[in-house]
């Protein structure tokens, strides 16, 4: 690496770091005063970019008018999100609040996609981008202005927090919310102000990333957001200095990573940094308070309730309807939709042991699903395995690989576990993309004694049988001694530990079981699509799995079937577009978490 390359990369790192720092400060600020990781913040990066593109390119507004307008819109949106979604849940169910912000971010991204289309839009050059040089390294006024603006904003923030009355109240609230309340500090106002500032900073970061990269895209928020979150964690959640430092460190690390290994290395680097921080120093570089102790118990992330009594006759009727009536009378269209419903029901039913029993809100199930799909495809395509062997084998591989990758996660709690699994899911898909950049074609269809089973009816029946086996296994597991131990970890990890149960081992086991069924589901998908590529295994897929499980009831494997029928079957029959579906998933998630936290089959207790 020559000297000019070094400065090039360093400048690229600073500019990326700049964006992450702005985002991380927002995330840290909100986490400090509300103890909630705000995923909605992630969307402001994409939204800031798109709105400023829209104002400047489409409406022809001058940039200096567009920018404040964007910040204002983001701030206002942040305020609305806080009072409608986050505040009502933050105090009692911080993890449910986090989940809701995740849903909000998916909704925002997709509304923005509907409004602005999913295209990458060329962002206008509002300031010169390569009119200056140090040695042979070229950069522009635009870059200087961005860095300068950040410096000014950070200095202003520091002064505001140190000497401003509200600023001091923000610090007091983040250090001890209850004591702040007892001093007569209006905590609600403090939280609103923090949210508004964070959202505006997020919007600004979005504008900056668009200026820097030169393109804007509605879906770009999540990756930047995740990186900004990792930056905040690296610096120490709740520490604003830490957020800035973390942002720049990560930006520079990433720039060098991309320089040496290409763009897909980005997500892997971010995930590795996250894992290293969580293991070595979960409080982050500047975290003074051991934040982990303030985390809620993982098992209490949703309200408890009593499952509705299901009359005995329902089971055989459901079996006959799904297993006989649908295959006999269903059209090909219904059967094809049915295969989707069944596959997701398998994945979601397997997930209930993690989300419901072990109380781990894992957000990256697309990862193990992708492992299963690719494993099965490779085994049958290149190694000549039969589908029937590849199916369980890919589940097994998904379980093993996901468990190994997730093994460092189990020592941490609450928000961190969710974010780490989310990052894990993204990283797995990124690695797969590195290995198979093209996607895999001509994945063999299952055969039965030489007869290819490629009709919708055949697929449906295979999926149905696998689902029944899955439900029986989940039911047996739940009633077993092991299942009860896992539930005890979810219900009260400290109490379980006091009885000699090492929670992390059982969480890992639950996750492995869920990953197994995710892998099986992935394998089924692969052989029915006969073509797979990394764009299939998106965040949306992970969100869908979580939503199905929460809608049906986190602890109920049969609930997953109902959730899947509603969320996939109904959506398909209503012919909603993909964007609209995600918006519906998001809304369902928010409403269920808020008003029926145990799921539709669980009465609130």
């Amino acid at each position: 690496m020559g000297r000019s390359e070094l400065t090039d990369t360093l400048i690229a790192g600073l500019l990326r770091g700049n964006v992450y720092a702005l985002g991380a400060v927002g995330i840290s600020l909100v986490f400090g005063v509300m103890n909630v990781v705000n995923f909605a913040q992630f969307s402001f990066f994409g939204l800031g970019a798109m709105l400023s593109w829209f104002f400047v390119s489409e409406l022809g507004l001058p940039f200096y008018i567009a920018l404040p307008l964007v910040l204002l819109i983001c701030a206002a949106l942040g305020f609305v999100i806080n009072i409608s979604v986050v505040r009502p849940l933050a105090k009692y169910l911080p993890l449910a609040a986090m989940l809701s912000t995740y849903a909000v971010s998916q909704i925002l991204d997709n509304v923005s996609q509907i409004a602005f289309t999913a295209q990458f839009q060329v962002f206008p050059e509002v300031l010169p981008t390569s009119n200056l040089a140090i040695g042979s390294t070229r950069f522009g006024t635009s870059d200087v202005v961005m860095l300068g603006t950040t410096v000014v904003i950070m200095a202003a923030m520091a002064l505001f927090l140190k000497y401003g009355k509200i600023g001091r109240a923000i610090r007091a609230t983040s250090q001890d919310q209850e004591a702040a309340l007892q001093m007569g500090i209006p905590v609600g106002l403090v939280q609103n102000v923090s949210f508004v500032i964070a959202s505006a900073l997020g919007g600004l970061a979005g504008v900056f990333i668009a200026l820097y990269v030169g393109v804007a895209n509605p879906g770009s928020g999540l990756n930047i957001g995740l990186t900004a979150f990792v930056a905040a964690t690296l610096g120490g959640l709740g520490s604003l200095v830490g957020a800035v430092v973390g942002g720049f460190v990560l930006g520079i690390l990433e720039a060098f990573g991309i320089h040496f290994f290409g763009d897909t290395a980005r997500q892997i680097i971010v995930f590795v940094v996250l894992i290293v921080v969580l293991i070595v120093r979960p409080g982050g570089l500047f975290g003074k308070v051991p934040l982990l102790s303030a985390e809620p118990l993982t098992g209490t992330f949703l309200g408890k309730g009593r499952p509705l009594r299901i009359p005995r006759w329902v089971w055989p009727v459901a079996f006959v309807v799904l297993g006989v009536a649908v295959p006999v009378f269903g059209s090909n269209y219904v059967l094809t939709t049915g295969t989707q419903v069944l596959i997701y029901a398998i994945i979601a039913a397997g997930f209930t042991v993690t989300a419901g029993q072990a109380g781990v809100l894992a957000l990256g199930q697309a990862g193990p699903i992708a492992i299963g799909a690719y494993m099965s495809a490779v085994l049958t395509l290149y190694l000549g395995f039969s589908f029937w062997i590849a199916l369980p084998l890919s589940g097994l591989v998904a379980a093993i690989v996901a468990s190994i990758l997730a093994s460092p996660i189990w020592g941490v709690k609450g928000h961190y576990i969710s974010i780490a699994t989310l990052g894990l899911g993204i990283a797995i898909v990124a690695v797969i993309q590195l290995v198979f950049p093209q996607g895999l074609y001509n994945i063999p269809v299952p055969t039965f004694f030489g007869t290819p089973l490629s009709t919708p009816l055949a697929y449906y029946l295979i999926d149905f049988v696998v689902l029944v086996i899955t439900l029986v296994i989940m039911w047996r597991l739940r009633r077993s001694h092991l299942g009860k131990v896992i539930s005890s970890v979810g219900a009260d990890e400290v109490a379980a530990l006091a009885s000699g149960v090492r929670g992390r081992n059982y969480k890992a086991l639950a996750f492995a079981v869920s990953a197994f069924f995710a892998g099986v589901g992935g394998s089924l998908l692969a052989h029915q699509y006969t073509y797979i590529d990394p764009t299939i295994f998106t965040m949306m897929m992970s969100l869908l799995v979580v939503t199905i499980v929460i809608l049906g009831g986190v602890g109920l494997s049969y609930g997953a079937v109902i959730g899947s029928i509603i969320l996939i079957g109904a959506m398909e029959l209503l012919r909603f577009t993909p964007e609209l579906r995600i918006i519906v998933y998001g809304l369902v998630l928010i409403l269920v978490v808020r008003f029926r936290p145990g799921g539709i089959l669980v009465r609130k207790s």
């Binding site: 109240a169 007091a172 250090q175 001890d176 004591a179 702040a180 007892q182 001093m183 007569g184 500090i185």
Partner: protein
């Protein structure tokens, strides 16, 4: 004469759990009153009720004759009720001065706040020495003083203290109790405080209330309570050889 603070027939529930059972108590102007009782007897719940941190199911809370049963914590602080939370709860990463300013959050008279800051530094010389130090680095006794000073910064008429002697050495406990008396005498502030050790509490309080499973089971002047055979048996007997 109406009392400064008056709780009348107050009932509080935590879900189905009946935490306060029709309790009535009063604190007069400039008075020191002690709340006694064992663990989970409802002492802290009473404090939270007075500060507006939990909802009252029925009954009224009055302050200077006004009904504040449904007023927010903030309004109560503005009205003149300050608190010294359980376990002190100073803001650990803020300086001593910043902690004091946080206590004055509800006020906007800059000159008055500056005056009071000065008064606190005179009253608590240790805090003046450590004004730029982060509160988390202070000793337990100093943190307690800071919590007192922080509460006084809102110019209260009543300070509610939840176990101000918790976790302190016997020597410091005496100091803290002396300080309560001093605040009360010199600044004329009424004090309602929770204390586990009945004898110590009643040595400075003029009156006391004894709570058991959410109910006030005994009340009276310090003398009456000290002489009460139940108290002697439950709190002053072998359990407390000092």
């Amino acid at each position: 004469m109406t009392a400064l603070l008056a709780l009348d027939d107050v009932n509080v529930f935590y879900g189905p759990f009946h935490a306060l059972r029709g309790n009535s108590l009063t604190v007069g102007e400039g008075e020191i009153v002690s709340l006694l009782g064992g663990n989970a007897s409802g002492k802290s719940t009473t404090m939270k009720t007075i500060l507006g941190l939990i909802k009252v199911k029925s009954g009224t809370v009055r302050f200077e004759g006004r009904d504040i049963t449904h007023a927010s914590t903030r309004r109560r602080v503005i009205g003149g009720i300050a608190s010294v939370p359980e376990a002190r709860r100073v803001f650990p990463q803020m300086t001593v001065d910043e902690n004091l300013l946080a206590g004055a959050y509800t006020r906007s008279d800059r000159a008055g706040i500056a005056d009071d800051l000065e008064r606190m530094r005179e009253h608590f010389p240790r805090l003046a020495e450590r004004r730029r130090q982060e509160a988390g680095t202070l000793s337990g006794g100093e943190q307690q003083m800071l919590a007192f000073a922080r509460a006084l910064m809102s110019r209260p008429k009543l300070i509610c203290m939840d176990e101000p002697t918790m976790g302190l050495s016997p020597k410091l406990v005496d100091q803290v109790l002396d300080e309560i008396v001093r605040i009360n005498r010199e600044l004329g502030v009424a004090v309602l405080f929770v204390e586990q050790q009945a004898e110590l509490a009643l040595s400075i309080a003029s009156r006391g209330y004894v709570l058991a499973t959410g109910e006030i089971v005994l009340q009276g002047t310090a003398r009456e309570l000290l002489d009460d055979p139940h108290i002697q048996e439950a709190y002053l007997g072998k359990a407390n050889p000092s």
